[in-house]
Point group: C2
Chain length 294, copies 2
């Protein structure tokens, strides 16, 4: 079983794949037809290429059922399975590049990930998102400006959602010890496009290991870690929304993120901060957005 199949197996050739594709009726929406045509071709080509057996296929079916059964409003295991094979990063890049193709100098996007919540409370600039600060945490001050990528105009009234895991590697919804909405918040830029808040200097953490995504990683002899990062979701009226992450450029796993979300331009430097009893580290991060009409 360890070598490539040396003979084409199966009696069902390309005409079988075509028959499956041709079963789509005349009222299939064109975009769906385009997607399913390609998907069916690639899945069949994959099965033929590796001479996939029924038992191997059934193992995959069981993994998928398991992923669905583990998923709920607090976790999304199918998403995580896609993440560990780079699929979310790929579609995120396709989507954001297509949406912003005529704009240079734009902040790069990164995946949303499975831990975003839609109900972040608005917090005041200069306040903290950390309400259960662990003893081993390094409080940090993050600040910056949001501007138009083309004109450089500051973008007031821009909302910036931020969320991060605590030092134990858990987001608040994964951790009964953290209060609701800990390490999350929404900040609104001022007239100069400025935002600021206190957070924790982020730390690397493993993605959940107890489901099929974890099983896949173990089978593939891979580690479970994401490099230290903070999530950002930036929305400004008249501009294309930006989902991204910033990464601590000094952290381990920067070069081998288990979900492949790191882009060079998203790695930032946390610098020592002096004279502030609230934080010993700081990071400046400026964001540029593309106009909706671009």
């Amino acid at each position: 079983m360890s070598t490539k199949a040396t003979q084409p197996g199966g009696n069902l050739g390309p005409e079988f794949t075509q028959k499956v594709i041709d079963s789509m009726g005349p009222n299939t929406p064109p975009r769906l037809r385009e997607i399913m045509d390609s998907f069916i071709r690639h899945i069949h080509a994959f099965a033929n290429e590796v001479q996939l057996t029924s038992d191997e296929w059934l193992l995959g079916v069981e993994m998928i059922n398991w992923a669905g059964q583990m998923s709920n409003e607090k976790r999304n295991e199918s998403q995580l399975m896609c993440d560990v094979i780079g699929l979310e990063t790929l579609v995120d890049d396709i989507t954001y590049t297509a949406a912003t193709k005529s704009v240079n100098g734009l902040t790069a996007s990164a995946i949303l990930g499975p831990f975003y919540r839609h109900d972040h409370p608005v917090r005041k600039n200069g306040t903290t998102i950390s309400f259960n600060t662990p003893k081993d945490a390094k409080p940090a001050f993050m600040y910056g400006r949001v501007t138009d990528a083309v004109t450089g105009k500051p973008l007031a009234n821009t909302s910036i959602d931020v969320w991060q895991a605590s030092t134990n590697g858990l987001y608040e919804q994964q951790d009964p010890e953290q209060e609701d909405l800990n390490l999350r918040g929404r900040f609104i830029t001022d007239a100069e496009g400025r935002y600021s808040y206190y957070c924790l200097r982020p730390t690397p953490y493993p993605i959940p290991e107890d489901g099929p995504a974890g099983k896949m990683l173990r089978m593939m002899d891979r580690h479970f870690y994401r490099p230290a990062h903070i999530h950002l979701f930036v929305k400004s009226e008249g501009y294309k929304p930006l989902v991204t992450q910033i990464f601590d450029k000094d952290c381990t796993y920067l070069g081998n993120d288990t979900v492949f979300a790191v882009k060079d331009e998203l790695a930032v430097e946390f610098k020592p901060r002096t004279g502030d009893p609230e934080a010993s580290w700081e990071v400046e991060y400026n964001v540029t957005l593309a106009s909706s009409s671009s």
Copy 2:
């Protein structure tokens, strides 16, 4: 959204796909590496080819989670989703062809499907599997012989599991009105390799429409029907097991089975049966098996 993307989107080229593949560690089993290498390449190629957006991908993730959440010991929705795009038929054909490649004249295989049970009771040849016969049913007598595909030797003590849906289109585990193990049984061939039993002349039925497989079919403007069939699972010591289905050659949907399981040589003729108060139809079906050493 209805036309092919005219420009390559995304900044992540083939080197991104290679990076994901190269993340597999040295202790990845060789067969798994072969499978994941091909799977990752094809999934990434698919996403690039259709310029899959994050929203479209998330719809797929939701379908997969839904499939898992619907699945239990009585139904397997992820399997059904694979079935409607021909994947189970494809891997079944690959597997059986690879297992029996040196043998001619062998009975063709067909998919197991999601309704098999491992606990079929052994029933006596010549008895029935129908214990809740509906008024609209057409009782039938099925019989035949099991032989060695090469030598023609009759295979005694061969077990033949059979299962079929009732005329309402439901297998017993889907239908509270049918008793446990109705329309299922295991028969053991006699010294001449013969088996026989009473069943229902099968009728076409729709696959379950209430889950993501049904949603996929509706989106693809396809029908839900399987042609009339009876499932067989044939096991004989020293021989390769055979999973197959026989199809009523006179039924509708023979040419467009929603799970693509029909093969020409599996279409059989039900003939009128006279002089038997138990059945007005009969079908002869002989099975040939390949020796384990072939």
